[in-house]
Every structure is written in structure tokens, then in C-alpha cells.
Amino acid sequence: MANKENDIILTMTGVVKTFPGVKALDDVSIQVRRGSVHGIVGENGAGKSTLMKILSGVYTKDKGTIIFDGETIETTTPHQAMQRGLSIIYQELNLVNTMTAGENIYLGRFSEVNGMKGTHQKAREALDRIGSDIDTWTLVQDLSVSRKQMVEIAKALSFDSKLIIMDEPSSSLTQDEMKALAKIINQLRSEGISVIYISHKLDEIFDFCDTVTVMRDGKVIDTRPVEEFTRMDMISMMVGRSIEKEFPERPRKVSTPLMEVEGIKTKKLHDISFTLNKGEILGLVGLVGAGRTEIVRALFGADKIKAGTIKLDGEVVAIRNPRDAMKRGISFVPEDRKQQGLILPFSVENNISIATLKNLYKFGILDKNKERQIAEKHIKTLKIKTPTARTAVESLSGGNQQKCIIGRWMEIQPRILIMDEPTRGIDVGAKYEIYLLMKDIVENGGSVILISSELPEVLNMSNRVLTVCDGRINGEFDPEKASVDEIMAKALGVSVEGAMA
């Protein structure tokens, strides 16, 4: 018996947390075994993040017991939690950008490790342990997202963590970086360190995890060994209703050319040419940095075009800045919604109306009622979970923030909607809504350019897929015929002879 108890690193029993008006956690009980990878899945707002914040000491629980490593924990602070051996790697990375990687790993422990020299020495050891070659003297702001994540993991290890919580660690990683992460997770497991892995990507859950807990509306729905789950029942448990499919029927409305791009060159792009048809969803696939985002930025007037032409309805148009693009009916839902898309302290309604404000003036005065009506309409159709239209966007969950941006562009009624990673960090139910929206746009004569790292999404929604590699478009596929491997190989720039079906 004692042996068995020793086998458990974390026990949460009957944890309750109430926020004004919301029961965020309702009698949650979870056990995590030592040296296991425990997945937690659930829609946005299911309570995963609240639970993790209670564990790490950002929030205090109302009720329930938490036993970590044999010790009952009443209250804690993030720092105490780390010193006990419980680290969290947040979705929004928790590093000081203006400091070096090494200093970040030993942040707040400068004197403990004997100053700058010790800091970098020890940080080097921590990074070596996960096989990372990051120079400890690099400023964190100069690191890519995945490398920042490595720094976070090294930081967690530097505390001799017994349990590391990873909140959506893969949301911005490329395939290669994912493999590196997988390796690290396996290594942690073999060293007897437990990992709580939170993700929306079910593939990863099935790949990495030993045990999975499904949460919905603040409750634990079920915990089982991963082998006892099928993909579909996991999804059904998450959304609380049975889902027959993850994707809607592919729209089939492709007609005549709408936009013709010829020989576009920018700082990062070489000779980009393609055609976008009316009623078409065009998928762009490539690694991060390969140029997919750069292509749409150029079309949207956000990057300077050095050569080449863009034709709309057969006429050459000049798109010098985003304003020009919007005048011609091109809308862009950017990847980094916080930086480029939303004004966080603004309310939901202000964020939705911001691009169409000029239609809302009556005798030079903003028609607040109309603004409210429009916002309410989108809150309803997009099922944005917000207390009121006046709530500040920053207090919404990631998925709901994304929906606010989509609502904004829907309001413009774009002819061409460009979506860069529209479903990143969004739960299954909301994803489906976004797919339906895309379908709605193309069925009403518009077109969509879809950039996504999630291949199943691109393959199931697009009418045509272009692969982007090294600033060039190097392949075109019919998603109904092509295989994932084939497209991926092309996007990676690998010769496809072996992979041809």
C-alpha cells in the first residue's frame, strides 16, 4: 500500500474554484503517477488553465485537497511551487525578453548561483541536459518560440522539478521542433519526472500520453489509460455531444479566377505566382518561416512588393498598404492575434466594429446602438463566450478572442478572407464553427486563403493546396487525391520520388 502511494506524485481531491458568476472548477479530482505523461484535454473554458493556475499558486482554491509529493499543499506561490518541484510551462511564455537565456533560467536566483559566471555555467548544464545548443548569452527576444520553450524546460529542470506542466506547448512548434519536444518528454519520463500535458491536438495526446483526463465545464468527465480511448469518444466527451465528424462537407463552388498573382517578389519571396478562384478555399502549407505568412502579408499590403503584379477580376491593382487591400475587399486574420489583431483593453464590441466604424456614423456621431447590435449578432452566430459585449477582450479565453477577430472580418463581408492559423489554440467545437464560417464565405461567392500547420484541416477544407518552401511555391495538390506524406515531403523540400503514391 505504502509503495503504491509512493507511486503517486500528485493527488487532487474535490478541488473547487468559483469566480464571480462562474464555477470554474467543480469537484475536480485527478491523480498523476510518477514518471508518467498525463494528458488533460477539454474545450476552451473547460477549466484546464484554472486548474493549472491553482497548482502553480497563481490562484487559490476554494475547497479540496492537493497532495504533492506526499505533502499537503494549502496555499502556494508560483515560486514556492517551483522550489517544491512543480513547474509550469505556460502557453504564453514566461520569460523576460530583454534578458539572456541563461539569466532567465536562473531568474531571481542570481546570488544562489554566485553571480553571472555561475548563472551561465549552470544554465549551460541545464540546457545540455535536454540536448539544446542555445547559447546562454543570447537575448531571449532573439530566440524563436520553440527555442524559448527549450529555455523554459531547462528552467523547469534547473529546479529539480518532479512534475512539469506543459500548457499547449506545441501550439507554435514546427514538425521538427515537435520531434525534439517528444524526445525531451520521453527523456523526462525515463528520469521519473512526471509531465502534465495540455493540448488541443489529439494526435499529440495519443502519441505522448500514458493517461488522459477529459474535462468539460469545470468537471472531470473521465480519466483513462490512453489505450482505452478512441479519438471520437474523446471528442464527444469534450464537447458533451456526439460529433459525427470533425470537418464539415467540403464546399464545391469553385468558379472563375478572382485574383491572379504573377511573379511577386519581396525581401523573403521569390517569384510567387498563383490564381485564386471565386468560391475557392486555397490552402497554403509550409514550415514556419518558409514564406506562407509572407505571401499573404504581401497580398494584404503589409510587406513591400518589389516586383510582380496582382490582378483582381482581371485588372491589375496596386496594393501598397493594408488600407488598399481592405478597400478591395481583402481581409486578413493574422496568426498572432494579440499583437496584430486585437486591442486587448478594448471591449468585444469595439474590437468587432473597429474595421467598419465608418459605416456606423450618423451625422458624424457614432451610432452606439448599431455598434452594439452588430456585436451582439456576431457574439450569437460565432458563439463567443463573453459576459457582455462590453467586456474587455483581454479577459476572454484564446479561442473566444480569435472569434472576435473573425467577427470583425465577417462584418466587412470580405471577397477574399485570408486566415493564418485560424484554429490555433481553439477547441474542437469552436473549430467546427470556424470551418462553417469559411464555408459560408465561399458559398456566398467569396474566397478563402487558409494557412495552417494542421494538415488534416487543410486537407479537409481546401479545394486546392499549394506548398511553400524557401520563399517559393513548389507544389500544387488536389487534397482529395494527395496524401499527407506527399504534401509534407514537398513542403519540406525533400525529393518526393519515394513518396509518390
Binding site: 497563481v58 508560483p78 514556492q80 514566461n94 523576460v96 530583454t98 531568474l107 553571472m116
Partner: protein, 321 residues
């Protein structure tokens, strides 16, 4: 990054060390006109006049690094001088100097407490504090300059070591060394960078963000009132108006030196160079007999130009990524 051209490397480093280059350019330029600029006496004199504001800047740099601002340094400077001279009538000089210096610590403690523990806007709190201090200073002096009796106090600010190096320059360098070591080699110093860089992250890393941040105001107040002691010794007088321009002059020097008002980036070394830019410029323009009003215009242009370079640099870097 790897195959950058030489030209690009040079531009990058010019932008990075812009204040340093501004100093170099001015020094080179002054080689040509026939002036007394390059006499030992002039150079030491120039440093001498700059030392007092430099001492203020070292303390204020800490506040700015941690993401705050202190507009009351002028008030602390004034109080330091006035309290020292007033106290000297009734107690030994060293004790009077101590009281003058500690007055800034008291002011800084109040600033820090209100700003950090009551989460108020530092700009407003310290602006209010500076108005209060001006009032107190006027009350204490009846709005007239006051001076110390006897020559011993004057010797501190006007004496020279070995008859050549001004005391003030030496004192400034000592204060600089102290702050440099604090920032560079202590946990407290590194914590300030973390707090200014990302307050939440610093908090979650177990740093006592409130205490550390409040401490910056104490140190800034103390540095400012100590500078006030030095100034009153140099001029053998103290007055409620001596601090009127201090905060903005020092802040512009700090920023030109390369410490970011957003916090997290910079250091006292940069502040020293930043204030040196203005010291050299003023001295050189005087040597060239440039009209005092025109000097003001030039100073404003230099501030804006150097900061414009900053944003140019940021823009270029963004495109590189």
C-alpha cells in the same frame, strides 16, 4: 545574421552605441576649430560641471530600469542642499551632510511606498512630490538662496585632488562605481532588469518585486539629495529653484544614453555617456560662441535625432527577423 556586410555591422554598432558615437563625433569635430577645448583644464572643468547631474542620473537609472520614473529628483536635490546648509548652523558638518543625503531617502521611501504598495502611477505621484518639495523648500528658505558660513563646506565641491582633479569628478566616479556594482553583480541589480523587462515573470520567479521596486525610489532620492549637497557646496548656496530643470535634463540624458523608458534595458554606464553628450555639446558650443538660445534648439534637435535613430533601428531589426 552570419553573412552581414561590414557596412551593416558598422551601422548596427553605431546605432547600438549611439551616445558613445555622438561623443566621439563631437570630440573629433572639436579638433578643427582653434579653441581651448582640448586643454586639460577645460576637460576637467567640463566633467566637473557634469558630475552633479551624473550623480542624480545613476540613482534615477535604477528607477527607470525597473520600469518606473521619478520626476521628484529635482525636489530631492533641492532639499538635500537646503537641509545640509540649515543643519550646519546647529551641528557638525558631517552630520549635516548625512541629514541632507538621507532626506532624499525619506522622500524616496514615501514615493516608493505610495507607488508600489498602493499601485499608483509613478509619474503623477512623483510630480506631486516635486511640487510639495518645492513648496517646502520655499517655506524653509523664504524663497531666497541661503548660504553656509565658513569655507570648509565649500571646499568639498570646489577642491581639487593634487591640485588638478576636481573633487566632484572623483566623488561622481565613486558613486558610479557603487551603482555599477549594484546593477552588475548583485541579485538586487539583476532583479531590477527582470522587473523592468517583465513584471509578471519577475513576480512569478519569486522576486520580491514590490520591495525591490520601492528600493529604487529610495536610492534615486538619496542619489539626488546627495547631488544636492554637492551642488550647494559647489555654489556655497542652496535655493528652491536649483532643481527646476533637473528631472527632465537627467531623464533625457539617460534615454539618449540608451536606457529604455520601458524598463529592462540599460545601465549606469550608458547614463554616464548620455549625460556626457550634453556636457560636451554645451561646452563645445560655448567655445564656438554659439548663442545660448540657439544652444537650446540644438539640444532639443539632438535628443529627438538620437531617439529617432532608436526607432529606425527597431524598424530595421523587425524587417530582418
Amino acid at each position: 545574421m552570419k553573412n552581414k556586410g561590414l557596412g551593416k555591422t558598422i551601422t548596427t554598432s553605431i546605432v547600438k552605441y549611439k551616445a558613445f558615437f555622438a561623443v566621439l563625433v563631437m570630440l573629433l569635430f572639436m579638433l578643427f576649430p582653434r579653441t581651448n577645448f582640448y586643454s586639460v583644464f577645460n576637460i576637467l572643468d567640463m566633467l566637473n560641471s557634469a558630475s552633479i547631474l551624473m550623480v542624480v542620473s545613476f540613482g534615477l537609472t535604477l528607477v527607470i530600469l525597473a520600469g518606473g520614473i521619478d520626476l521628484s529628483v529635482g525636489g530631492s536635490l533641492v532639499m538635500g542642499g537646503i537641509l545640509t546648509i540649515l543643519s550646519m548652523n546647529v551641528m557638525p558638518m558631517w552630520l549635516a551632510i548625512l541629514i541632507g543625503t538621507l532626506s532624499g531617502a525619506v522622500i524616496g521611501t514615501i514615493n516608493g511606498y505610495i507607488i508600489v504598495y498602493h499601485k499608483t502611477e509613478p509619474m503623477i505621484v512623483t510630480l506631486g512630490m516635486s511640487i510639495i518639495l518645492t513648496g517646502i523648500a520655499q517655506e524653509l528658505t523664504d524663497a531666497h538662496p541661503i548660504s553656509a558660513e565658513g569655507l570648509s563646506f565649500m571646499m568639498i565641491g570646489n577642491g581639487r585632488i593634487f591640485g588638478t582633479i576636481p573633487n566632484l569628478v572623483v566623488i561622481m566616479l565613486v558613486v558610479f562605481a557603487v551603482f555599477y556594482v549594484i546593477l552588475r553583480y548583485t541579485q538586487f541589480g539583476r532583479n531590477l532588469y527582470a522587473i523592468g523587462g517583465d513584471y509578471e515573470v519577475a513576480k512569478y520567479s519569486g522576486i520580491n518585486v514590490r520591495r525591490e521596486k520601492a528600493a529604487t525610489y529610495v536610492l534615486a532620492g538619496m542619489a539626488a539629495s546627495f547631488a544636492g549637497v554637492l551642488l550647494s557646496s559647489k555654489l556655497n548656496s542652496a535655493s528652491s529653484i536649483y532643481g527646476d530643470q533637473t528631472a527632465l535634463t537627467v531623464i533625457s540624458g539617460i534615454v539618449v544614453g540608451g536606457t529604455s523608458l520601458a524598463g529592462g534595458v540599460g545601465g549606469v554606464g550608458r547614463s554616464l555617456v548620455g549625460l556626457l553628450v550634453f556636457a560636451i555639446m554645451e561646452n563645445a558650443l560655448n567655445m564656438l560662441h554659439v548663442d545660448a538660445y540657439i544652444q537650446q534648439v540644438i539640444r532639443g534637435i539632438v535628443i529627438v535625432a538620437i531617439l529617432a535613430l532608436d526607432s529606425y533601428d527597431r524598424k530595421r531589426r523587425r524587417e530582418d527577423v
